[in-house]
C-alpha cells in the first residue's frame, strides 16, 4: 500500500490497453448489430420491443454515471453515514416513480419517440419546444460532465493529460454510437452494466477490509461529528435529502434518456425493468458512497482539496494494480454508458421533434432523418468537448436545470390524464413558475417579511404537490388528493418560519406549486375535451422501410446475381 499522500497510478500503456479493450469491445458489439441501411425509428427507439434483460441493463447503466458515484461519495464524506442514502435512494426513486406515468404515456402514444413529440400531439409546438429545449440542455450538460469525469480520471491515474483524456472518451463513445444510434447504446449498456456492477460488488468490500475493516468504526469514530454519526441526521436530510426528493419527479420528466427507454421496452415489461433498475442504481451508488464514508472514518483529506477525487484516490490508495484497473473500467463504463445515451437522446429529439414533426410525419424522409441524427451526434460531441474545456461549474448547472424541470412536472403529467388542460394553461403555468422560481433560487428578493411568508406558503403547497403526484402515479386521484392535503397541512407547523433558511429547497418546491396552481385554475373551467386517440395518429412511425442488415444485403445481392445468370 502506498503512503497516504500518494496514490497508485496506472501507466500510459496500461491505460491505453484498458481503453482499447473497453472501446474495442463496445465497437465490436455495435458493428455486430449494425445494418447497412438502418431504420430511422429503430435508430431512436429500437422498434419499441426490447426485452427485460437489455432494457433493465440499459436503464441501470444510463442512470449510473461518473458524477453519481462521485456525488454519492461526496455526500458520504460530508454528511456521514446517512449521506449516501440521501443521494442514492432518492436518485433511485427517480426511476421508480416514473414507471406508472410511463405506462400511461405508452398507452396514449405507443409509437412515439420522445416525450416532447407527445406534447406536440397533445398541445402543439410551444409546449413541445419547451420540453424538448429543456431536454437538450440537460443532455448537453450531462454529456459534458461525463467527458470531464473521464478526462480527470485519465489525468489522475495515468501520465496522460486532461485534454487527451476527454478526446479519447468523446471519440470512443461517438464511434460506437454513431451508426446504429439507440440500438448500439442499449446493447453496449449490457456489457457496461456487467463491468460496472461486477466491479462495484468486488471493489467496495475489498477497500473496506484493506482499509481496516470493522476496526475503522472504533478507531475513526472521533473523526465524525455527532451529526455525521447519526443515521437520522436532520442536517443531511435538509441539505442533501430534501432537495433530491423535490427533484425526483423533475429529473424523471426532464430527462429524454428515461423517456426513450419507456418507448423502447416492450409495454408489458415496463414495471419489472424500472423496478430492477431502481434496485441496481440504488445499491451501486449507495455502495460507492460508502467509500466516501470510509474516507471520513479514516481521516483522509481529498486530493487537492477536491472531493470529486475521493473515489479514484481511495481506489489508488487501497487497491492493487489489477483491482485499480477494474475500478478504472467501472468509472469509464459508467460515464460512457450515460454519454452514449445522451447522444442517442439528443439525436432523437432533433430527428423527431425538430425535423420529423416539423416536416410532418408523412412527408419526413427517413434517409434525411438518419443523416440529421448522425450529424446531431457529431455536433453534440463537439459542443460537449468545448464546454468541457471551459470554466463552467457543470454540476452546479445540472442541479440548477434539475430544479428548473420542476416547473414542467405538473403540466406535463396532467396533460396525459386530464382532457381539460389547454396549451395556454401549459405554457402560462410553466412561464409563471419560472418567473417565481428564478428570483427565489438566486435570492434576488430578500427572504423577509410578507414575501418570506408567501414563499414559504407556496413551498409548503409544493411539498403537497410533489407527494400528491407521487401518490397519483401508484394509487390514483382520490389518494393523491388526500396525500397532498394531509402533507400540506401536516408540514405547515414545522416549515413555517423555517424553510426560508433553505433557499435551494424552497425554490424547487415553489416551481412545483406555482405551475400546479396556475395550470389547475386555468384548466378546471376550460371547455376543452381532448380526445387522447389523436396522439396515436400524430406520433406514429416515420420509417416504414425494412432495415437491411449487412448479411441480408449480401445474400440479396447474391440471389439477384444468380437470377441474372
Amino acid at each position: 500500500m502506498p503512503p497516504a499522500n500518494e496514490i497508485l497510478q496506472l501507466g500510459t500503456v496500461t491505460v491505453i490497453v484498458l481503453l482499447l479493450v473497453f472501446y474495442g469491445g463496445t465497437m465490436w458489439m455495435s458493428v455486430a448489430i449494425s445494418k447497412r441501411k438502418e431504420n430511422a425509428d429503430n435508430y431512436m427507439t429500437a422498434g419499441g420491443k426490447i426485452g427485460f434483460g437489455v432494457s433493465a441493463a440499459s436503464m441501470t447503466a444510463t442512470w449510473i454515471w461518473a458524477s453519481s458515484m462521485y456525488a454519492s461519495a461526496t455526500a458520504g464524506y460530508t454528511y456521514g453515514i446517512s449521506g449516501p442514502i440521501h443521494y442514492g435512494l432518492w436518485g433511485a426513486l427517480m426511476i421508480l416513480f416514473i414507471y406508472p406515468f410511463g405506462r400511461r404515456i405508452r398507452k396514449v402514444a405507443p409509437k412515439a419517440h420522445t416525450l416532447a413529440e407527445v406534447m406536440y400531439a397533445r398541445h402543439g409546438r410551444s409546449s413541445q419546444l419547451m420540453l424538448a429545449g429543456s431536454n437538450v440542455v440537460g443532455s448537453v450538460i450531462s454529456l459534458t460532465s461525463n467527458f470531464i469525469a473521464g478526462g480527470a480520471l485519465i489525468a489522475m491515474l495515468s501520465p496522460l493529460n486532461f485534454g487527451t483524456g476527454i478526446l479519447i472518451i468523446a471519440g470512443g463513445v461517438l464511434l460506437y454510437t454513431l451508426w446504429s444510434g439507440f440500438r448500439a447504446s442499449v446493447l453496449t449498456d449490457f456489457a457496461q452494466v456487467m463491468a460496472m456492477l461486477g466491479a462495484a460488488a468486488i471493489i467496495i468490500p475489498v477497500i473496506f477490509f484493506t482499509a481496516g475493516g470493522p476496526s475503522m468504526f472504533v478507531d475513526g469514530a472521533s473523526n465524525l461529528t455527532p451529526a455525521q454519526g447519526n443515521f437520522f441526521s436532520s442536517e443531511a436530510f435538509m441539505n442533501q435529502g430534501a432537495p433530491y426528493i423535490a427533484a425526483v419527479l423533475a429529473y424523471a420528466i426532464g430527462n429524454q434518456t428515461i423517456a426513450q427507454r419507456l418507448f423502447a421496452v416492450r409495454e408489458n415489461l415496463i414495471k419489472p425493468t424500472f423496478v430492477t433498475a431502481t434496485v441496481g442504481y440504488g445499491a451501486t451508488v449507495i455502495g460507492i458512497g460508502m467509500v466516501g464514508v470510509m474516507a471520513l472514518y479514516l481521516g483522509i483529506s481529498p486530493l487537492d482539496g477536491d472531493v470529486n477525487n475521493l473515489i479514484p484516490q481511495m481506489a489508488g490508495t487501497f487497491l492493487g494494480p489489477v483491482l485499480l484497473g477494474l475500478a478504472f473500467l467501472m468509472i469509464i463504463g459508467s460515464l460512457s454508458s450515460t454519454a452514449d445515451s445522451d447522444l442517442s437522446a439528443l439525436s432523437s429529439i432533433v430527428m423527431s421533434d425538430i425535423y420529423g414533426q416539423g416536416k410532418g410525419r408523412k412527408r419526413a424522409n427517413p434517409k434525411t432523418m438518419l443523416l440529421i441524427g448522425r450529424i446531431t451526434m457529431i455536433v453534440a460531441t463537439a459542443a460537449g468537448l468545448f464546454f468541457a474545456t471551459s470554466q463552467f461549474n457543470i454540476l452546479d448547472l445540472l442541479v440548477f436545470v434539475g430544479a428548473l424541470w420542476g416547473c414542467l412536472v405538473f403540466p406535463v403529467i396532467a396533460s396525459f390524464y386530464w382532457k381539460k388542460v389547454t396549451n395556454m394553461a401549459f405554457t402560462v403555468s410553466v412561464i409563471a413558475a419560472l418567473v417565481v422560481f428564478l428570483p427565489v433560487r438566486f435570492e434576488l428578493i430578500p427572504m423577509e417579511g410578507a414575501i418570506a411568508w408567501a414563499i414559504e406558503v407556496l413551498a409548503i403547497v409544493g411539498v403537497g404537490v410533489v407527494l400528491g403526484i407521487m401518490a397519483f402515479g401508484f394509487f390514483g386521484l382520490k389518494t393523491a388528493v388526500v396525500v397532498g392535503i394531509v402533507t400540506t397541512v401536516g408540514v405547515s407547523p414545522f416549515a413555517l418560519d423555517y424553510l426560508r433558511d433553505y433557499t435551494v429547497l424552497s425554490a424547487s418546491l415553489v416551481a412545483y406549486s406555482v405551475s400546479f396552481l396556475v395550470c389547475y385554475f386555468m384548466s378546471f373551467k376550460s371547455k376543452q375535451n381532448f380526445d387522447f386517440n389523436i396522439i396515436k395518429s400524430v406520433t406514429g412511425t416515420f420509417d416504414n422501410r425494412a432495415a437491411t442488415s449487412s448479411a441480408a444485403a449480401g445474400a440479396t445481392t447474391a440471389v439477384n446475381q444468380k437470377d441474372k445468370e
Partner: protein
C-alpha cells in the same frame, strides 16, 4: 448503530449489487435464447 450494525450496513450494498447483476444477466440470456430461437437479433 454498533460495529456489527455498521459492518452489515456497509457490506449489504455490494451483496444487493451482485443480486441485481444476476437478475439482469439471467434476463439478458433468456432474451438472447428467445431471439436466436426466432432467428432474430436481440435488439
Amino acid at each position: 448503530m454498533g460495529v456489527i450494525g455498521l459492518t452489515v450496513y456497509f457490506l449489504m450494498w455490494p451483496v444487493l449489487v451482485g443480486a441485481t447483476l444476476f437478475v439482469i444477466a439471467r434476463g439478458f440470456f433468456k432474451d438472447w435464447r428467445e431471439a436466436r430461437k426466432n432467428g432474430e437479433s436481440i435488439i
